[in-house]
Symmetry: C3
Subunit: 358 residues, 3 copies
């Protein structure tokens, strides 16, 4: 039995298989319309997210299955103090697969360690959101016909944007990738992502603060939102914000076949006027997310049917450290052992939130 | 492709067709139990309404389809500032038809202008609620055997009651309709409804403040709730409220085959003792609402299958005006153009909330 | 037509039948997977309860049916002041069976008196929770092979724990039952339960304050949570709480085939270390709850199909008294008549909340 907690849980070959399945679903939807008949997906959303939740639910229904769940913590037993581990054990009695969103980093990993059914991470705080990356990958593949040999611009909040980090991690395994990081100084990509992902995979990258300057060389432009709350200096925010809003004007220098992505929801970082541009792919991306979730649910249920025993962790672990991250599930979950993994670089990271040991 | 935003979007013939379909569903439910197999209804309720939402969901399930959605804005992406237009575009990737309730007037019209699937207005603030009117029409048809030649009493809050305005608008297109308006002075029917609907269609009407006085002549009595908040003068409210509560006593002078309607939920404007009276039809009305929603979903999905392109607006529009209504979706939706229509009387009305241009 | 409001609504024979059906569902799930095709369960949860709600929903889906409903009062028409009676009447138009959780004691009985479909009480305040008791009974039956000749320890909050009272009531009808009541003085079993259930059925019982002392003689240990709020004296609470936490250490003196139950959610009253003990049956109990709910839904729908008329109350009632319990539905529901039943002991109890008349 497998779960999907981080996009890196899947090899490049496995991702290729998922994309292949998704393409087949798009071609022959009727072949898949009864594949999950009698199966149930539990959508456990401890914080609200319409788009992601409805995408999962639509995916399950299009496979002929059913859905149970909740859409916010207030209507769950968590309000009564139940642990994530117990919730996972109980839901395993009711459903065949879980999609979990949780505000605490690492909560879906705790769930997958305790559930007797596969768990999909549908977003854990600012940490991972692998099914968004699946949507991104299928969109790039469908629009560009390939996942390698691409210059990818990432624009906006590169510091806190979990979708950006996951996409970089996923793309770094393909050939011929170049990365252009476009952000204000305050919101630059964190050093550890540059070091542990980009440098390690020898991905050439440059850091630019001007979207217009970067535009002409990009095959992919991945936009994200710059949140006012991220700035300590309001004048700085006001000075900067407009330069990271995508407009038809700014698109003039872009390649004709550039592909504009956005994880959505957007607020105003892409002008509505851009929607009509054929390069705008963010609504297609939402659709592709549904197809990838269908492929993922199928894959995990098939895996669980073949090998019902949970895969054991194959990593070097360290147990005498304590995670200090207040947003990590270790700070909230009852009787949860703190466990660290030792990376190839010799760094100890909490297995739940991946923060470095202090 | 069609949507249902206002009851006036459908001609009398189209309404007759819907009623005909609903009657057939009642007679032969099994013939319809798989009509929407593999289809999904999205119930997007930006404000709660159990009755309407569950009625839509029951309708879709009885057609063999599935349902996704949310029941309040708090668990939707709107909380993150997403526009109605974007929500409509994204949900179009996940579902086949939308039922939307929204606190802002005109929001479902914005949705239908952006969705690639049909949109049903399930209530937009104090503006429209056309599927309630569909329930009213089927109930009148089933109870009286006709939709013309009826004297209809409307009692209670005629000023703010959107269901009252829609019913008047719908009934004004049938022959031989007489209207009796029963309300306190504070809550009289607005002048524009009298002028633009009743006068225009030459519907005879009278205004009375006594329910008992009106009772004996009515074929239909449509009750609504008088809300305390509507009164500036509490003594006036206390003096008046009991006269608009329907009791077995007040029913003594009513016709034996009069039909009592209420959009529900009721608080205390109809005494529970009236429920046993055979003239009480408000719970039948709830059941009829489900059948009409089934007929409506079928009709809109069939239309969308035949002509997948959105119908264009065929009206004379004016674009250099700004809507001043704070409850209109124009006041909240990002980059939404203000558009007005010029009515036959030469008045300019916002196409979203139908308020007059100032 | 029958409803399930209290576990005592079913005879021992009927409970045996339910257990028999549940066992058959476990053996041959495919035989049941279409039994409720085209039927709808309405889950009306006026207060949140993930576990119970999802268990009902899973049960209905595994029978091939569908589910509509809400998971908290805020998204229901109750927020607009609708009575439970009206809600029940309207939902009867949309669904085939209701599962209702409500904070007011007796609300599900009001619903069953007004619905035209069966109603299942899924918890009414601190009063009844019969489907939890169904889960308890099936678990005891599956683990011990019998429901009689058992020594049952009940530990923790025996004063307010509705699941404890219901289980005692249910077990008191079997042969050879002995009860061991384990609690701090503040949280002892109420006198009326001892008198009206234990004494009346000649069930031997003892009251002990030490879990360790009781341990060795138990066939069943039913744990419940001790809530801090129940104590007026915080020092007393701190002194006591650890003695009612079940640990591997305390289990050393227990029988090898003892069966540990807990209605869940647990907070910390059972150490996570106990989960691995083969005597820990609380997660099995959650699974058994689903099977019993399946059996119950089937039974009530079959009953309703055979005899669609509501069963009349066969009890001696008294009507000139008023219930003084502020948590009783009589204190909130519009125009609800106060009715009392005279028990065999000559005591008058409110039929809704079962509080004694003052």
């Amino acid at each position: 039995m497998r779960s999907l907690i981080s996009i890196m849980d899947f090899s490049v070959d496995e991702l290729d298989d998922l994309i292949h399945t998704a393409m087949d679903i798009i071609d022959r939807p009727h072949e898949y319309s009864q594949k999950c008949r009698g199966k149930k997906l539990a959508t456990l959303f401890f914080e609200p997210s319409t788009r992601t939740r409805l995408s999962f639910e639509a995916a399950m229904y299009e496979l002929g299955g059913n859905v149970i769940g909740f859409s916010e913590a207030g209507s769950s037993s968590a309000a009564k103090g139940e642990s994530v581990a117990d919730t996972a054990k109980v839901i395993s009695c009711y459903a065949d697969i879980i999609a979990m969103r949780h505000p605490m980093e690492g909560a879906p990993l705790v769930a997958s360690d305790n559930a007797t059914i596969p768990v999909i991470n549908a977003g854990d705080g600012g940490h991972n959101h692998p099914t968004q990356t699946l949507a991104d990958l299928l969109t790039i593949y469908r629009e560009k016909g390939r996942l390698g040999n691409l210059t990818i611009g990432l624009c906006g909040d590169l510091k806190y944007g979990r979708t950006v980090h996951s996409l970089i991690e996923a793309m770094s395994r393909y050939e011929g990738i170049k990365i252009v990081l476009i952000s204000p100084d305050e919101l630059r990509l964190p050093g550890y992502v540059k070091k542990e992902i980009l440098d390690r995979h020898h991905i050439p990258f440059e850091e630019i603060s001007s979207l217009e300057e970067a535009m002409s060389k990009l095959d992919i432009l991945y936009m994200t939102r710059i949140q006012r709350e991220r700035f300590s200096n309001m004048e700085e925010y006001k000075r900067l914000k407009d330069s990271y809003i995508l407009t038809p004007e700014k698109l003039k220098s872009a390649k004709e076949d550039m592909c504009i992505l956005h994880p959505l929801p957007r607020v105003n970082e892409i002008s509505v006027a851009v929607d009509k541009d054929p390069r705008a792919c963010y609504f297609k991306q939402a659709l592709n997310g549904k197809y990838m979730r269908m492929a993922l649910i199928l894959k995990l249920l098939e895996d669980a049917a073949c090998s019902p025993v949970r895969k054991t962790r194959d990593m070097q672990t360290v147990k005498n450290l304590r995670c200090q991250n207040p947003r990590c599930i270790t700070s909230a979950e009852q009787e949860l052992e703190h466990i660290f993994k030792r990376t190839d670089e010799g760094i100890c990271r909490c297995i739940y939130c991946e923060k470095k040991a202090e």
